[in-house]
């Protein structure tokens, strides 16, 4: 079944949850693409040309046209390649999917990051509280095997950080947020998600990730 994909390029970084989101979506849809690994300390001219506004990864370039911001890219991928849809059909369900994926980026991820990587203990504790509140909202929202129903969708892909990166952070810094006692559904979802055949192939090596987070934690707490 030959499909006309055009030329698809993805600029990313191996450990970035945002870049991995895009890879998962492309691979679920069977889209052929060329991947470019960036060095964020020495950004390529191409990256700066394609994302002058934020200078970040991921950047998707389709037939020479660049796009930045992972959630924007995911919706574009879904609009362009119709197989294995990642957004629901009904407008209301689509709106909820957009709402929850933005919630993950605007509330969850920043709170979790601050709960681990802040020098000040009081701030860390406050962020841990916020993270638990945010995770509770997701726990309550999860009604099926995945946020997308029986198959993974936009919210699952966005929440990949919680399934894989969060446990790595927890191990690296000695934090416990996603316990299976407090969040049984979310905990189980995390395991289903990371074992999904497409996701499994698209996760960075765990020990490297833990090492990276350990180093980050050390540099923050050392500068107290």
């Amino acid at each position: 079944m030959a499909k006309e994909y055009g030329e698809v390029q993805l600029f990313g970084v191996g450990g970035s949850p945002y870049a991995r989101r895009v890879r998962i979506a492309l691979e679920m849809k069977g889209v052929q693409y060329t991947y470019f690994e960036e060095d964020l300390r020495n950004k390529s001219d191409l990256l700066l040309k394609y994302n002058p506004v934020h200078k970040k990864v991921p950047v998707l370039v389709h037939n020479g046209k660049p796009l930045a911001e992972s959630l924007v890219i995911l919706e574009y991928i879904d609009d362009t390649w119709g197989n294995h849809p990642i957004l629901p059909q009904q407008p209301y369900d689509r709106a909820l999917a957009q709402f929850w994926s933005r919630f993950i980026d605007d509330k969850c991820l920043p709170a979790i990051t601050k709960a681990a990587f802040t020098a000040n203990k009081e701030e860390r504790d406050n962020s841990a509280e916020e993270s638990l509140e945010a995770l509770q909202f997701l726990e309550n929202e999860l009604k099926h095997k995945f946020f997308g129903g029986e198959t993974i969708g936009l919210v699952d892909i966005a929440a990949g950080f919680i399934a894989f990166w969060l446990p790595a952070i927890e191990e690296a810094v000695g934090l416990k947020l996603l316990s299976c006692e407090k969040f049984p559904k979310l905990h189980k979802w995390g395991q289903e998600f990371t074992n999904h055949p497409v996701v499994k192939e698209n996760l960075p090596p765990r020990d490297k990730l833990v090492g990276f987070f350990k180093a980050r934690y050390a540099s923050i707490t050392a500068s107290k």
């Binding site: 389709h62 046209k65 796009l67 924007v72 407008p91 709106a95 933005r102």
Partner: protein, 225 residues
């Protein structure tokens, strides 16, 4: 233009740019709706029930199904009432519209507010610079188009109502010369076109009460120095 009896409600506060975005979209589509004015100092049970996550306005309720977050609401309105489209039909153009409206929320809204409503001078200056940089990106993106959406206004224009109506108010209150026709000739011209568009004009709140409210807020901030 609804074929069946539709129940459409908007929870908001007068003077909110985010609520205004939704009102513009509804006016453009000619959708009749019930408006509920919230008191943010004493939030209604309805608001807390419909937006437990953020407890904020706007919240849009269609046939008892609630949606918060202004840009999510505007997209939903566009998908539900299909005439006078707000988003382009081409996937790449749609993605760009989403990118730039997100950019406005991430890089303009906060910085522009803090460029005036910050006591610490260094912090304030930093935000002025960030606002300037962000507006410059938008100036370049507008190019020679009448609206960000082309001949007709679209998602990005609606998101940017904050720039067209609210930033000039902050500037006047704070004595800031940020968004001017000298600094941003295209964006400034756009803002005049946009606020004078009949649909937008009818959706904007009356300027004086908004100005008075924001000025009181500014004064209480400087008083607490």
């Amino acid at each position: 233009m609804a074929a069946s009896q539709e129940e459409v409600t908007l929870l908001g506060v007068t003077g909110s740019a985010f609520v205004c975005r939704v009102q513009i979209a509804l006016k453009l589509k000619g959708v009749e709706y019930k408006y509920v004015e919230e008191n943010l100092g004493n939030k209604s049970d309805l608001l807390l029930k419909y937006n437990p996550v953020y407890k904020k306005v706007p919240v849009f309720v269609h046939n008892e199904k609630p949606i918060p977050e202004s840009l999510v609401i505007v997209e939903y309105i566009d998908e539900t009432w299909k005439h006078n489209p707000i988003l382009p039909s081409d996937p790449y153009q749609r993605a760009l519209a989403r990118f730039w409206s997100k950019f406005i929320d991430d890089r303009v809204v906060g910085a522009a507010w803090k460029a005036v409503y910050t006591v610490d001078e260094e912090e304030r200056e930093k935000n002025v610079e960030e606002s300037f940089e962000a507006l410059q990106f938008l100036e370049n993106e507008l190019k020679d188009k009448k609206f960000f959406g082309g001949e007709e206004f679209g998602l990005v224009d609606i998101a940017a109502v904050y720039i067209a109506f609210w930033i000039p108010i902050f500037q006047e209150i704070g004595g800031l010369e940020l968004f001017t026709s000298e600094n941003f000739p295209k964006l400034y011209k756009w803002s005049q076109e946009f606020v004078n568009h009949p649909v937008v004009k009818e959706s904007l709140p009356p300027r004086d009460p908004v100005f008075a409210f924001l000025k009181r807020r500014y004064e209480s901030l400087s008083a607490s120095k």
